[in-house]
Symmetry: D4
Subunit: 233 residues, 8 copies
C-alpha cells in the first residue's frame, strides 16, 4: 500500500501505465489502440501482464493482434468486435444479468464489443440480435428476455429507434449505443445518436457512436452496485 502511494504509475515516457487505477477500480486494464504505434502498444501490454492484470484492447486490427500475441500467448482475438482479451486470471460471474440487444445484423460488431467488455468485467451477459423496429414482432416474441435482465444495452444504427421502444416496455436502466451503420443522412451514426438522446422513453443513457466498450463498461458498474447490495445483506 505504501509503495502504491509512491509509485502510482510506471512512466514509459510516451505513456504513464496506471496500475493504481486497476487496483482501485478492480477492473481489467484497458488499452484503446486508436492512434498508438505498434511499439507503444507492445510496451504497455508488457508492463501490464507483468502485474498479472487482465487486459482488454479495443480497436484492434490483425496487425496489432499479431504483435500482442507475440508478447502474450494468452491473447485471444475477437475479430468482428476488434477486441483482444488477455485473461491472466479467471473472472467471477455476476448473478445479475445484462442483456445486449441489436437492431440489425450489421450492428453485431458493436454489440459484441459491448458484450465482451461486460463479460471480461465479470458480468453475466445474454444476447438478442436482429430485432429492429421495422419488424417489431421479433422483439415482442422475446419479451421474456427483457424481463429477466437487470440492465439492457440496445445497439442500433440506421434511424436508431429501438431503444425508445425497449425503454417503453421495461422499467430498468437502458444504455443506448448508436452505430455508424447506414448511409446518406445517417452521417455515420449521428442520426441514431440524436434519436437516442431525444428519446421520449425515460431512463435511457447514451454513449458515443460505436462505443460498445463504454456501454459494456457502464453496464458493468451498474451490475457491480447491484451485486454489492446483494452481498451486503
Amino acid at each position: 500500500m505504501e509503495k502504491l502511494k509512491n509509485l502510482p504509475f510506471e512512466d514509459l515516457g510516451f505513456a504513464k501505465v496506471d496500475h493504481h487505477r486497476t487496483i482501485r477500480k478492480g477492473h481489467p486494464e484497458v488499452i484503446y489502440c486508436g492512434g498508438k504505434t505498434l511499439e507503444e502498444i507492445e510496451s504497455i501490454v508488457e508492463k501490464m501482464i507483468e502485474k498479472k492484470s487482465n487486459v482488454i484492447l479495443t480497436r484492434v486490427d490483425k496487425q496489432i493482434y499479431k504483435r500482442v500475441k507475440s508478447v502474450s500467448s494468452k491473447a485471444e482475438y475477437h475479430e468482428r468486435a476488434g477486441i483482444v482479451l488477455i485473461e491472466m486470471e479467471k473472472v467471477k460471474k455476476s448473478r445479475s444479468k445484462l442483456l445486449v440487444v441489436s437492431a440489425g445484423t450489421s450492428d453485431i460488431n458493436v454489440a459484441e464489443e459491448a458484450a465482451l467488455t461486460a463479460e471480461v468485467m465479470g458480468t453475466t451477459t445474454e444476447r438478442l440480435y436482429d430485432v429492429g423496429v421495422a419488424g417489431i414482432h421479433r422483439l415482442f416474441l422475446n419479451k421474456s428476455k427483457l424481463d429477466e435482465a437487470n440492465v439492457i444495452i440496445v445497439v442500433a444504427g440506421m434511424e436508431g429507434a429501438l431503444p425508445s421502444v425497449v425503454g417503453g416496455l421495461v422499467d430498468k436502466p437502458v444504455i443506448a449505443v448508436p452505430t455508424s451503420v447506414g448511409y446518406g443522412v445517417n452521417f455515420e451514426g449521428v442520426a441514431p445518436l440524436l434519436t437516442m438522446l431525444n428519446s421520449c422513453a425515460s431512463g435511457i443513457g447514451v454513449v458515443n457512436i460505436d462505443n460498445g466498450f463504454g456501454a459494456g463498461y457502464l453496464a458493468s458498474t451498474i451490475i457491480r452496485q447491484i451485486e454489492k447490495a446483494g452481498e451486503k445483506k
Copy 2:
C-alpha cells in the same frame, strides 16, 4: 380555354395569381402567408374569391385571419393548425381513406394542418392521436385503423420513431412529417427528420419539418390517383 392560354395568371405586380394552376390541378388555391404583408394577402384573396375558387391559407395568425375575414365572411379559422379555409363550393369526399397519426399531444398542430389540407382537397380523413413509441401498446390497440386506410400520414416530434414502426406494420404508402416539438439536440425538428429519412422500414416519403400542408397535399394526390382508377373501371 382560349382565354386561359392568353391569360394564364393575373399580375398584381408583387404577385402573379395563377388561376391556370387551379384549373389545371383541380385543387384549391393555396396561400403560404409567411413573409407576406397584410395588404398583399388581402389582394390575393380578393382575386381568388372572384373566381369562386376554394382557398386555403397556411401559417395564419389572428391578425391575418381578421384581415381575411374582412374580405370574405366564409373564412373559417382553425387556430391550432394556423389555417384559414374559404370554401366557395362544397368538395366531394373520396371513397378511399387517409389516416393521420400523431405521436404526441404536442404534435397535433401539425397533424391538424395535414388533416385539414387533405379534407379541403376532398380526401376522407380519420385521426389517431397520441400513440407514440414509448407506449407502443396504444398503437397496437388501434391496428384496425391502420388496416382500413389507403394512405397513412405519421406526424412525430422528439425522436420521430413512430413512422418506422407504422411502416413495419403496413403495406401502404406512409408519409412522415417531423415536427419541431422537442428541445436540446432535437434541433427544432432536425432529429426526427433524420430519423424518418434513415428509416429501415421501406416505403416512407418524408416532407419538411412542420409541413403538415405538404403531407396532406401529397396524400391527396395519391388518393386522387386511386379514386380515378376506381372510377374508370
Copy 3:
C-alpha cells in the same frame, strides 16, 4: 396459417429471416448488404430461396454478387445500380405506370436502383434520363411522358432543383431522390436533399440520399393501391 403464427421467422442467430413479412406484404425479400459479411449474406439468401421468394439485394459489389451467384444461378447482377435480383417466380406487371426521371447522366446509378426495385415489385416503369434544369427544354419536349404516368420518381444530384419543376407541371405524387453527385458544398447529397424538402411545389415526398430502393418501393406501394382500386370495381 397456424404454423406462421408459431414460426414467424427463422432464427439464424445473427439474423432473424422474416418470411412472415414477405407473405404479409406480398413483396420480394429484401437484403440490404451494407455491413453484412459474405457468410451472413449467403446464409440469408439460402433460407429465402428455399421458400421460393423473389429476392432483391441492394448495395452489392462484385464480390458479393459472386457469392450469391454460387448459391443461386438465377441471380442477375445490375452493376451500375449495385443490385442483384433473384426471380424465383414471374411477377405480374401493373397497368398503372411509374416514370423514373433523372437530372444528369451521373444520377443514373440511383435512378436504375429505383426502376429495378419497382419492376421486381410488379410496377410498369418507364425511364427519362438527363433532363436537368440547366437545359429545361429537354424536359418540356418530353412532357407527354409526365402526363402518362401515375407516379413520378425524380432523381437529382448537384443542386437538386428538378423535382420542384416537375412538381409544378403535374398533379400527381412525386417522389424525390437526392443523389450524392456533386462536390464542395454539395456535402455528398445534403444540398439536393434540402432543396427537395424545401420545394415550393406541393406534393413531393423525399427519401434518403441515394436511396433509389426506397423510392422504388414507395412508388410501388402507391401503384398497388391504385391497382387494387381498379380491380375492385
Copy 4:
C-alpha cells in the same frame, strides 16, 4: 387486473392517459408540458389525480403552475427547476444514495430538475454544487461525498469537462447532463454534450441537453435495481 387489460389508457382525444404504465412501472405520472395547451394540461392532471397517482410536471412556467394549482391544491412549484410536484401519497426513501453534482451556479436549474425527479421517485439524494474543473480543489475537498454515493449525476455547461474528472475518480455509474449554459460556440449545450460523449473516462451515460428529468429518472431505475437486490437477500 382484468380491467387493466381492457382499459390500458383513458382516451381524451388529444391524449391517451396511460395509467397502465404507472402501475406497470411503479413510478409517478409524468407530464412534459412543452407544446401542450393549458386546457390539455388541466385535463390530463385531472384524470391522473382521480387515480391517486403522484404527478410530476416538467417545463412548467408560472402560468401553467397556476392552472395546475387550481385543479390540485397539493401542487408544489419548484420555480428554478421548472417542476411541479403533486404528491398524492408519501414516497418511501431508498437506502442507496444518489449524488447530484453541478459544475457552476448557473447549472443549478437543471441539477434541481434531476434531484427533484429522483426524490419523487423515492431516491435518497444529496447535492454538491459549484465544483467545476477550473477550481478543481473544490471537488477534491468533497471527495467523501463521491465515495458515499451509489450513483452520481454530473451536470455541467460551458465546456462540460466535469464528468470526465468525476468518472476518473470513482468506480460507479456516472450520468452526465449537459446544460445550455454558455455562449458563442457553446451552441446552447452542444459543446458540453460532445465533451461528455467523447469522455476518455469510461462508464458515463449521457442524456439530452438540459434533460435533468431524464438523468434523475435513469438514476432512479438504477437505484431501484440496487434496492431490489438488497431486499431479496
Copy 5:
C-alpha cells in the same frame, strides 16, 4: 489631390469615415447600420453630407430613419427594403440594363434592396417579381425581359431553384441572392444558398443570404465596366 493624401479619412474615434474611398470608387457612401448606435449613425451621416456625397444606409428600421431624417431632410425611407437614400446630387442613368427577378412575393424585401442599391449607383433597373419554378410558365412568358438585360439578379428563398433555370436560359452574368424566406430545413436561407452554389447552370455568382445590397453593388460594377467600354469607342 494633395489634401486627399494627407487626410484619407476623418477619425471619429469609433469610426474612420473614408471619403478617399468614395472619390476613388465614384460610388455613394454606404453605411451598414447593424450593430451601430443611433449616435454613431448620426455622426457618420453628418460627416458624409458635409462632403455632398450621396449616401445609402442599409438595415434601417423606423427609429434609425427618424434620426437620419433629423440630420438630413433629403433622407428617403424605403421601408420594405430597410434602406434610406440621401441623394445630394442627381445620378446619371446607365444605357445597359439590370433585371432583378424574384421567385416569390416574400422575397421582394431583398429584391428591392438590390434594385434600389443599383439605382442609386446609376444602374438602369427593371423588376420581374413572383416567377418561381413551381409555376415556371410565368417565367417563360417574360422571356423577353431576360433577353433585354445585360446583367440579371435572381432573388429566391425556399429551395432557391430559380437561378439555375434562369442561368440555363441566358448567356449573361447571373447574380444569385438567397433569402431567409422559408421554414424547417430552410435553415434561414442556408438551403437556397447551397442550391445556388451547387447550380449546374454555369455563370452564376452568389452573395450572402438576404444580401440584396451586395448583389446590387456587384451588378453595378459590371454595368460600369460595360458603360466604360461603350464610352471609349
Copy 6:
C-alpha cells in the same frame, strides 16, 4: 435553323447532347466528368467533335484523358487543373482583360482551372499567384495588375481572406473562389467559402468550393458583355 428546332439535342439514352445550347450560347461544349463512366464520356465527346465544337472537359484524371485522346488527337491535357481542351477552331481573344489571383501555391490547381476555362472562351487572361494576406506587401507590389484588369478572379484556401482585401482596393467585379486547401476546421473549403460570403468588401460574387470552372465561365460572360458594348459603338 429549322433543323435546330426539330432536333435541339441528340439523345444518347444516358445523355442528351445539347448542340442547341452551344449555338445559342456561343461557348464551347462543357463536360463535367465526375460520376460519368469512360464509355459515356467517349460517346459524348464523339458527338461533339462531329459538330466541330470546341470542347472543355473538367475533373479529368489520366485514365479519362487517355480515352479522350484516343477519340480526338487534338485533346490537350492540363494535369494540374484536371482539364482537357479540344480546340477544333481557333478562339478570338478579347480586348478586355481578366486577372486570376491566387493566395497560395497550393491554390494553383483551381486558379488554373479558372484561367484555362476563361481562355478557351476567348478571354484574355493574366495570372498573379502566391500573394496571400499573411505577406500582404506581395500583393501591393503588384497593384498595377489589379488596375489593368476589367474583371478579377481571386482564388484562396485556408482562411480565404484575400478577396476582401482585393475587393477593398479596386472598383471592379471580383469573383471569389474558395479552395479545399487547409486542414482541421477548414472543413475542406467551407471556412474560406464563409469568409468570402461574409466579406465586408462590396461587389464580390462567390462560386462553389474548387469551382474554378464556374468562376472562369462567369468572368467570361462579363467580359463578353463588355466586348459587345465596345463593338457596338
Copy 7:
C-alpha cells in the same frame, strides 16, 4: 496561510466563492453573470468586497448593475461592454503595452470588454478602432501603434480577416476575438471564428465568440510574464 488551507473557499450553497484563487493568481475576482439570479450575484459580490478584492462582472445588463450598485457604491458601469468594475484598491499599470484593434464600429462592444478587463488587471492598454480589411490603408497608416505594442488583441466580426493581416505585419503574440456581428452565413460569429483558426499567419491564439474578457485576461497573463522578466533583471 494555515487558514487558507483550511478554508480555500466560502460555501454559499449555490456557489463556492474562491478567495484562494484570487490570492494565488493575484487577479481581480471575476463574476460571469450569465444564468445567475440577482440574489446570487448580490451574495457573491458581498462576500468578495468583504475581502477588499477588486471585482469585475461580465455580461451585465442595467438591472444587474443596479443591484450591484446597491451593494457597493464603487461599482462603475461600462454599458457598451456590459461590464461592471468595483475597484477596491488602485491597480499598478504595466510598462509593457497591449494594443486592442477592432475591425468595425460594431465590434467595439467586445473590444471594450477586452480593454477594460486588461486594464483592471494592470495592463497598459491602447485602442485602435475601425481599421477593417476592406479599407486596409487605415490600418497601414497606424502601423506605428502595432510596432509599439508587446501584445495585440484583434477583434473582428463579418468575415474576420483582420487578424491574418495584422499577424502578417508583426512578430508578436496576436490574440484574435471573433464577434457575432454579421448576418446570414456569419452564423453569429462562427464564420470569423473559422477564419481566425484557419489563419495562414502564424502566431495567433483564438478565443470564443464575443469573449473579450478571455482575450483581455490572456493578454494580461502574457504581459505579467514580460513584467516579471523585466523586474528580475
Copy 8:
C-alpha cells in the same frame, strides 16, 4: 537594406519566396507542404538554403523528406511529428521555458510538432506526456513542472478537457491544441476544439485542430517578448 526594399521576395512564378519576412521576423523559414508538388517544395528549399536561413517544413511524409534530403544533407526528419528541420546555423536557447503537455499517448504527434517548432525558434522546451483528466493524479504529481514554465501548451484529443484543468491550476499563458484523436462525435477534433474555446478557465488561447506548429510558434513569440524584457533591463 536598399536591396531588400527593391527585392522583398524572389518570384518563382508559382511561389514568392519572402526572405524579407525571415529577416524582419528573425524566425526560420516555414514551408507548409500540404498541397504543394515535390518540384515546388524542392525549388523553394533551394532558394531558402542559399540565404543560409534555417528552415522548418511541416506536414512532411517520407517521399517529401527524401526529396528535401537530396537538396540539403542537413535535413533531419522527425517522422512522428511530420517535420523536417534544416538547421543552417545554431539557434540560441531562451532562458524562459515552455512546457508542452499532452493528454494521451495518441496526441504525441501533435505535441512533438509544437515542441520541435518551438525549439527551432530558440525556445527552451520541456515535455510532459499522457497526463489526461481521466487519471488526474498523474497531472498533480507533476505540478512542479507547471510551476516552472513561463508558457504552457496543452495538447488533447477525445473530449479535450485537459487545458481547462491546467488553466485552473496556473496563472500563465496557456495555449490549447485540439487533436483529431477520437471517433464518433469527436468529429476529427471538432469536439475538443469546442471544449477548449468554451473553457471556463480564463487565459486560454486556442489554435486549429492538429496545429502543433501554430502553438509552438505562438508560444515562441511570447517567450521572445519575455526574453527581450529580461535583456533590456
